[in-house]
């Protein structure tokens, strides 16, 4: 096979009137799409290598660069689209599974965009967050059905809770899948704004122990980096069963990303592949999960809430109920749009269900069973903005997990090439030359700014509804109305149509 049928996805346009030949683009592109032609004294491009990450566009001091979709058209065909055809060419050349990064990008319905929020008019006043307290403090953990109070004192302590200043957390991203500087950014931002970040299954780097009270440490099927100090270091422990981008399959961190520090943190030899099995091989059923939950609680003297993270799949309500009854304090559900550092394309794009429906179904089910208050519900899988957060909480979530949005705040441009390890923004890479491009101080500020901005917006939206504490929004589906949804969908969401 001498000829590749693959054609470029993008076209790099360089305005020669603006190009000053400084070659910043050449130095910035880890994909080597830009190069310097010494003979012609010109910067040139190899379009086929461009992933449209905008690093060169952002860094070009004269704004001489634009990236366009490659104009080559395939014969118009609503069934056989260009991406479908190109995927086949690639597979015909490689014989391999198509890999990708980030979340499902297919045009499935986005239910958030079919839900509208309420506001107060006349019959009760809206509340101005600039004048009145507006409370977003949120506690995650198991709640008893009732308190025991005697003589003005609490006689029975309540189980351990995670305390969040804003009902948003950075969801699991492992050291290995993202860079240490990216994790440092998120950890410091979490500390600054009073929320949590999550280690993912990559263990806890020695530099990150100081962020312990803002850390959720994850225990996944590969058990990488899990040891007693690790479990003790965090504020909570999360058992990862699955993730929205690739429900039902495990993970694979290739050996080239396992450098000295990753190897030390994950407790595996340098340069070896880190393979997380698809299931936990000690959890083949719900009763096994219960054993692991209580093993972790025993190991941490029942001082830390234990979360169980699952991907949103068809039978999610029953599964969540089982997890609550198995002893989990928090259930984290990841919708089918959740991101990833690497996943098979077909799994990412075709497995799982939307988080909106999963959340509504789980919340309703747990309430029907009278156990909703016993567990906290955290949802993720493409929470894109503060309105999505508000809608998720109104549907019944206690808090949300964000990861893609957090990475975008650090500079991610969603080029979906995380799996290549060539992230030009220093996020999804272990290449030291690229990692140092992300200054964790700047990263922390940007990620913290994002949370603070959303916090302000959530307060505005709450105030408009006449609510001044987030717990009055939680599960308050009367604050939502649906547009453009079928009766069946409205029914699952437990939401009235707009106008009713």
């Amino acid at each position: 096979m001498t000829i590749s049928m693959s054609t470029p996805d993008f076209l790099i346009e360089r305005d020669r009137d603006r190009c000053i030949k400084c070659q910043v683009c050449v130095r910035q592109c880890a994909n080597e799409a830009h190069f310097w032609d010494e003979e012609e004294q010109k910067v040139k491009a190899n379009d086929a290598l461009c992933v449209d990450c905008h690093r060169c566009v952002t860094y070009c001091p004269t704004h001489a660069l634009t990236i366009r979709k490659y104009p080559l058209e395939f014969r118009e065909n609503a069934n056989w689209t260009a991406s479908t055809i190109k995927a086949i060419y690639r597979q015909a050349e490689t014989g391999g599974i198509l890999l990708t990064g980030m979340g499902n990008d297919r045009p499935y319905p986005i239910f958030w965009d079919h839900l509208l929020l309420n506001a107060s008019q006349v019959t009760n006043p809206s509340i101005d967050p600039l004048r009145e307290p507006m409370e977003l403090k949120t506690f995650l953990g198991r709640k008893p059905d009732q308190l025991k109070v005697e003589d003005g004192r609490l006689v029975e302590e309540i189980p351990p809770q995670l305390e969040l200043e804003v009902p948003i957390m950075f969801s699991a991203m492992s050291y290995g899948s993202i860079s240490l500087n990216a994790i440092k950014s998120l950890a410091a931002a979490a500390e600054r704004v009073g929320i949590m970040y999550n280690t993912g299954e990559g263990g806890l780097h020695k530099d990150l122990y100081k962020y312990g009270k803002n850390t959720i440490v994850q225990v996944a099927s590969g058990r990488f980096g899990v040891h007693p100090e690790y479990l003790q270091a965090g504020a909570a422990i999360e058992i990862k069963i699955g993730q929205g981008a690739k429900p039902g399959i495990g993970g694979h961190l290739p050996g080239e990303k396992v450098g000295l520090e990753v190897s030390q943190t994950r407790m595996i030899p340098e340069g070896t592949d880190a393979i997380s099995p698809a299931p936990h091989h000690d959890i083949y059923s719900i009763e096994d999960l219960s054993q692991l939950i209580y093993s972790l609680k025993e190991a941490t003297q029942y001082q830390k809430p234990v979360s169980v993270k699952i991907a949103a799949v068809h039978n999610i309500a029953a599964i969540a109920s089982g997890i609550a009854r198995a002893g989990a304090d928090i259930i984290a559900i990841d919708g089918f749009r959740g991101g990833t550092g690497a996943a098979p394309l077909r799994t990412r794009d075709n497995v799982g269900i939307p988080i909106e429906l999963a959340l509504a179904a789980v919340d309703s089910r747990l309430r029907e069973e009278g156990i909703r208050n016993q567990v906290s519900l955290v949802v993720g899988g493409s929470i894109r903005n503060s309105a999505d957060v508000v809608k998720a909480i109104a549907l019944g979530a206690d808090a949300v997990y964000i990861a893609t949005a957090a990475l975008i705040s650090l500079g991610c441009h969603l080029c979906q090439k995380c799996n290549t390890g060539k992230c030009n923004w220093g996020i999804a890479t272990q290449n030291p030359q690229l990692v140092k491009r992300l200054n964790p101080e700047i990263g922390a500020e940007r990620a913290a700014n994002l949370i603070m901005a959303w916090e302000h917006e959530i307060k505005e939206l709450l105030g408009g509804m006449g609510i001044n504490a987030v717990e009055s929004l939680r599960g308050n589906r009367l604050m939502l109305r649906g547009v453009g949804l079928s009766d069946r969908e409205l029914n699952i969401l437990g939401v009235l149509p707009a106008g009713e």
Partner: protein, 152 residues
């Protein structure tokens, strides 16, 4: 005195500091495109990114307390300002003998042969005023302008 310090651990080696330094010290300090495309000779940066990837950092004149270049200068063009501490080269007096380049322990002085031969070096943007443009334009805050010895 305030100096520019490089933070190697977050320097990405993009060389935007060089680009902006060159512009600031060109005939078109406010027009980056003209500075590079209109000026007859290529503008010279007075900051230099030293690089051996993944290591990289930007280096410019350290404005030494006991600056050897001022001692070596045969015309008295190179002077350390007793008030600001800035070591500057008076290009009208400089004859381009390169003795300063010979003695500079950091290699921070360049030859400028675009006009009459002069030594070209960082003046901490004294002519521009404020924070040096290299610091202002570093996209990753890898250059710091401070009067405290930068420590990590």
């Amino acid at each position: 005195m305030k100096r520019v310090y490089a933070r190697e651990e977050i320097c990405g080696g993009c060389k935007l500091c060089e680009v902006h330094c060159a512009v600031a010290h060109s005939q078109y300090p406010n027009d980056i495109i003209k500075a590079f495309l209109k000026q007859k000779t290529k503008p010279i940066a007075r900051i230099l990114v030293e690089e051996g990837r993944p290591i990289s950092f930007a280096l410019q004149c350290r404005h030494c307390e006991d600056a050897p270049c001022t001692k070596a200068c045969i015309t008295g063009a190179m002077q350390k300002d007793p008030v600001t501490g800035i070591v500057a080269n008076d290009e009208t007096r400089c004859v381009g003998c390169w003795t300063c380049i010979l003695v500079c322990p950091f290699g921070a002085i360049k030859r400028d042969e675009s006009g009459h031969k002069v030594a070209s070096k960082c003046d901490l943007c004294a002519t521009v005023g404020g924070t040096p443009v290299c610091v202002q334009n570093c996209p990753n805050d890898a250059l710091v302008f401070t009067d405290e010895l930068w420590r990590r």
